[in-house]
């Protein structure tokens, strides 16, 4: 588990620049899985059902993380930056290590000690590397993934653990219906990828997977996810799926997070959608952590829902 999460966390996945992480995910699936990309950058893994008139179940999560775009390289070597998402609080990462899409490390620095503006921060790399950069390149915040006392910690651990759980589930699940595991691009800046995938697949039911700041030790089924309200029928069925599989599940609601569930549920004529969250602590911080047991249970509930929610 930790090896794959570490690998996922080290891949470039800044919104709109998810190709590297997609290729890692794709590489996890043997040739018998049908995988393809959409123009939006989404990666879809299809498991065809073996029953007549199979319906379509879409299980998706966004794979992007917040980061920086290179906007300008000054003569003195300062690399000026823009945010991939306006909610990135860059000030708390001053002094931290960044990693570029071409795997060059940099320091995030500021010309001002307190409350710098975006125009006052920059990335600094070794002089020999400066010619490797151009506007449009990206930097991610370096994530150091560690394991201690049954918990995996590090920036973006939780969202990478959701991806891990999806991959694990896809390898285990028996599929009488068509099941689509969807790894969405650009979830953070508005749920663009989720909309494109939904349009392409036109599922009968969608399960939107996400992270949630929570002290729960089991997966959390969300009655409300941002602007999206879970489909009542499928919400109840998901609870039954968990009970029948002897997997604990907590119920909650939140107004925070990406807009994936809303994008899915409102595409075309609408899609019944439920949201399932992996609980974590210190979401968005370098100390962000998830329980290994909870990640395993999260994978099991994904499998249980995929196998049974349409039965």
């Amino acid at each position: 588990m930790i090896e794959l999460i570490r690998c996922l966390a080290s891949a470039t996945a800044v919104s709109g620049r998810e190709k590297e992480i997609c290729e890692i995910i794709k590489g996890e699936f043997p040739a018998l899985f049908e995988t393809f990309y959409l123009p939006s950058g989404d990666l879809i893994v299809k498991l065809p059902g073996n029953r007549k008139n199979a319906k379509k179940i879409m299980i998706s999560t966004n794979i992007d993380v917040r980061g920086f775009f290179v906007t300008f390289i000054e003569n003195d070597g300062k690399i000026r930056l823009a945010l991939s998402d306006s909610e990135l609080d860059f000030s708390k990462y001053i002094g931290d290590t960044l990693v570029s899409n071409n795997k060059i490390e940099a320091k995030l620095l500021s010309e001002k000690d307190a409350s710098p503006r975006l125009s006052e921060i920059y990335a600094e790399v070794e002089n020999s590397n400066i010619d490797s950069f151009k506007p449009g390149d990206v930097f991610s915040l370096k994530s150091e993934i560690t394991e201690e006392n049954g918990r995996i910690s590090g920036l973006n651990t939780a969202s990478r653990a959701v991806i891990y759980a999806m991959i694990a589930s896809a390898k285990e699940v028996s599929h009488t219906h068509d099941i689509y595991f969807v790894f969405n691009s650009c979830g953070i800046p508005g749920g663009r990828g989720a909309k494109s995938s939904t349009y392409a697949i036109r599922p009968d039911i969608a399960v939107s997977l996400r992270t949630l700041e929570s002290k729960e030790s089991c997966s959390v089924l969300l009655a409300r996810d941002g602007m999206s309200l879970s489909s009542i029928d499928f919400f109840d069925k998901a609870i039954s799926c968990a009970a029948n599989s002897s997997v604990d599940i907590a119920l909650s609601a939140t107004t925070t997070g990406t807009r994936d569930a809303w994008s899915i549920s409102t595409t075309q004529t609408g899609v019944p959608t439920i949201s399932l969250a992996l609980p974590c602590l210190d979401l968005g911080e370098k100390s962000e952590s998830v329980s290994k047991d909870t990640v395993s249970e999260f994978s099991k509930i994904i499998t249980a829902i995929a196998e049974n929610i349409l039965n």
Binding site: F69, R192, A200
Partner: protein, 362 residues
């Protein structure tokens, strides 16, 4: 009407009064300019105009090239007792470029001239003088004697734009005028349609002249939903800040350096492949082009890129000083660089960067 091209065409297009939702005069002009050019023209209910050029069948990909016909302007919201008109802006207009400006209004009996008036400076406190007046505190003076006089020519809801003479200046390479955003793109597309009328491309090409960009991109949304292109090239104008007191890193782009290619703006994160492909194509063709070095603004691409299963989209913008003002400044040579680049892209193997279309087969 004789057909125009290049800067002469741009000049005539910029002279048309066509704020958002009142683009019909621009559309009529464009239809005449591209007539008899081996294209099929369609219009929809919100005024979008699409010129379709069928490909030779070698590729099943569809390219949409788009530019919006509308311009920023004003809509009349009331008439005061003294005959002056209250108004609100149509599109984003910097308050600093409004006061004292000459405007034209599409009145019920024809086009009216007016001037935007403000409270005289000697009647404003020192504190008030430091602030810019928002549109709600300004009025348009059309020379009416009183409310009744004004009402004979103007109604609430009438629209207007800046009044400005399209002018060449400096060394002859510089131009200024209103509505360069985005008659620039419209003129360019007309030119390309006319210059390639005897050529058949590998791709089906849709030249979309869209409406209502300045008030929320709705024309482009409708057009791209209908066309469902594989690739979209959104022709735009981008604000630059290439001024001495602006740090170089914040200057966005530079005039005379070719079109600015965006990797991201406030409405879109553009694909890495198409961003690199366009800059590489420009370099290989010896055409000037530059990366837009600042994340700002938004445009029709915000909707276009997210239509259907997603559209591989690029924004290609002419660097423009004083955008959304009566005197937008561009470099003439950027017009020709942009045109050459668009042609080079259409003639390239750009389809290689588009994933195989799977919709319906999934």
């Amino acid at each position: 009407m004789s057909k125009l091209n290049g800067i002469d065409l741009l000049k005539e297009l910029c002279a048309i009064i066509a704020p958002s939702s009142a683009e019909a005069p621009a559309a009529e002009f464009i239809k005449k300019q591209v007539a008899d050019s081996n294209i099929e023209i369609t219009e929809d209910t919100v005024g979008n105009l699409v010129a379709y050029k069928k490909g030779n069948g070698k590729s099943d990909k569809k390219i949409m090239i788009s530019a919006h016909m509308d311009e920023v302007g004003f809509t009349i919201t009331g008439i005061d007792d003294d005959g002056r008109l209250s108004f609100s802006n149509v599109g984003g207009i910097d308050p600093s470029v409004i006061g004292g400006r000459a405007v034209v209004i599409l009145g019920k009996n024809g086009i009216l001239s007016g001037v935007i008036s403000a409270i005289p400076i000697h009647l404003r406190s020192l504190e008030e003088r430091k602030k810019l007046s928002p549109a709600s505190e300004l009025r348009i003076d059309i020379g009416a004697k009183d409310k009744a006089d004004a009402k004979q020519n103007v109604s609430v809801g009438d629209m207007g734009t800046f009044k400005s003479e399209f002018t060449e200046f400096g060394d002859g390479n510089m131009l200024y005028g209103k509505a360069i955003d985005d008659r620039f793109g419209c003129a360019l597309m007309c030119d390309i349609i006319n210059e390639t009328k005897d050529i058949t491309f590998d791709y089906d090409v849709y030249f979309a002249f869209t409406t209502r960009e300045e008030i929320g991109y709705s024309g482009a949304l409708i057009t791209s939903e209908r066309i469902a292109p594989d690739i979209a090239l959104v022709l735009e104008s981008t604000a630059v800040a290439d001024l001495a007191n602006v740090p170089e890193a914040s200057q966005v782009a530079h005039l005379s350096q070719g079109p600015a290619i965006s990797f991201a703006d406030r409405s879109t994160i553009y694909g890495e492949e198409i961003f690199n492909f366009i800059l590489d194509t420009a370099k290989a063709s010896n055409i000037k082009a530059q990366a837009k070095c600042f994340v700002s603004g938004g445009n029709d691409a915000g909707y276009v890129h997210s239509v259907g299963i997603g559209v591989v989209t690029a924004a290609i913008s002419v660097p423009t000083r004083y955008l959304h003002s009566a005197s937008c400044v561009i470099a003439k040579e950027d017009y020709f660089s942009t045109k050459a680049l668009i042609k080079a892209i259409i003639e390239s193997d750009i389809e290689k960067i588009v994933p195989e279309r799977k919709v319906g087969a999934i």
